[in-house]
Amino acid sequence: MSNSFVWWGIILYIIASVFIAYLSRSGKEASMSGYFLGNRKMNGFVSALSYSATTYSAFMMVGLAGLTYRGGVGALGFEIIYFAGVTLVAFFGPRFWLVGNKYGYVTPVEMLGDRYSDKMVSVVIAISSCIFLIPYSAVQLAGVGYLVEGMTNGGISFTTGVVIATVLAIAFSFIAGIRSVMWTDSLQALMMILASTAVVLIVIQGLGGFSSFFGTLEQNYPEKLTVPGNGFWSFATFLSMTVPWLFFSLSNPQVSQRLFMPSSMKSLRGMLLGFLGFGLIYTMVSVLWGFSAVIIFPDLENPDVATPYLLSSELVPTVLGVLVMVAIIAAAISTIDSIMLTLASLFARDVYGNLRKGADERRQLAVGKIIMPIIAVMAFAFAELQLDLIAVLSVASSAGLTVTVPAIIGAFFWKKGTAPGVIASVTVAGILVMVLELTGIKPYQLGSGVWGLLVSTVIFVVVSIFTKAPEEKASEFIDYINEELKQELKLKKVK
């Protein structure tokens, strides 16, 4: 595909999204919850689209297609396990939302610090989130890099793509905080779902329709339709990659923070169901793209270029190809800007706000705004390293975040959980994940996420048993939730 087509696509996208971001401004946001949570007034539809855009990133359309190309249908299973894990929102969503409203939490990490009555809990989890989310942001940037490079056959370089994505992510976050991010997210999610579904239908049609498409796969690449298939998806690999993914909706602060934002439980429901509807379509489309690439380009060296090759193939009309490319770039950016906002709020509120006395909201917000470009530049540097497959790197980041899961579950369901338990479990298991990732060691063939979760659970429970729990706070916090949920049930019966 010629460079000028791609450039025009990018330019039109920038104009449209900057316009929308600008429109989304509503006066000057001076408070933390205004800037980072949209004043807890987001409606279900925008929340659903934005949640989708934040979760489904370049990883999805580039990485999941690449993973399907590499190992076959196991990639679908991997993503469906994540999808099933989103059901955690049905259990934890109302709880996050209730305490978020009652205590005014801006970040999930702030919630944990308050619940365990120790500021150091917030500081430790905030720092570990920053460490593990920067590679994840970098993955998104790399996705854009591969995409523009692949689609123009090297005409636009990897680095140029990464620079464009970094600059735009910074711009969208600055214009109006979470409001501009959520509205640009929504635009992107709608564009993506329509254009990508069109591509999959056109490509399958071009390959002779559904039955011929699967007929070719069954005949020429039967191993792509089973697990372990060609060996890539051994059960140990499947387990190692899915465990961190299963808990993604809880462990990743950029998505769990979203549980504070909806204006009501009804909006929260709209967010969850809307997301699931979009999510299943995205998942199927990405996997079918991967399968299509298997048929059309069976000998690719780097599976992550499967999507760009497919989009620039003769089967896809040029305008549609460019549209989807722009949608994917937008998807990557919408994930990075959300992560940047979350990390900025974590750093400003939970690290700076806790360690420096007298840091009021205004100062925290100023620090948050300074930290955002710094995070972006660090992600940029990481992306330039081009370390591994996009999907593999994403899972590695999630593995690091998984170590916070026992503390999050304990906050809502175990009154005996203690701050030393959280700090020890997150620190020790976090370091373990990092060591396993850096050395590439896989005890019993299992990846870092499985070990991280196991070790952090054991440490959290054991240390908590031997230390003193903040009983008063734990009772107040958990009893309040139980009372409110019971009230809901009673109301239902009266109705």
Binding site: I80, T87, P94, T242, M265
Partner: protein
């Protein structure tokens, strides 16, 4: 945790377990679209239905 939540929690666990176990056992030799591909798609649909039911009474 309410009893209703416990009930649906167990159902979810069973669905997730089936998504791990069946493709690696009964379907590991079914090299067709109606093997693991269909199973996981159906699991996706079931997950949506479960969420529809669990959140049925969430109001403004």
């Amino acid at each position: 945790m309410t009893n209703r939540e416990k009930f649906w929690g167990v159902i979810c666990l069973l669905v997730i377990l089936s998504a791990y176990v069946i493709p690696y056992t009964g379907l590991s030799n079914v090299e067709k679209w109606y093997g693991s591909f269909l199973l996981w798609f159906v699991v996706g649909i079931v997950v949506i239905l479960i969420n529809l039911i669990i959140t049925r009474d969430w109001r403004s």
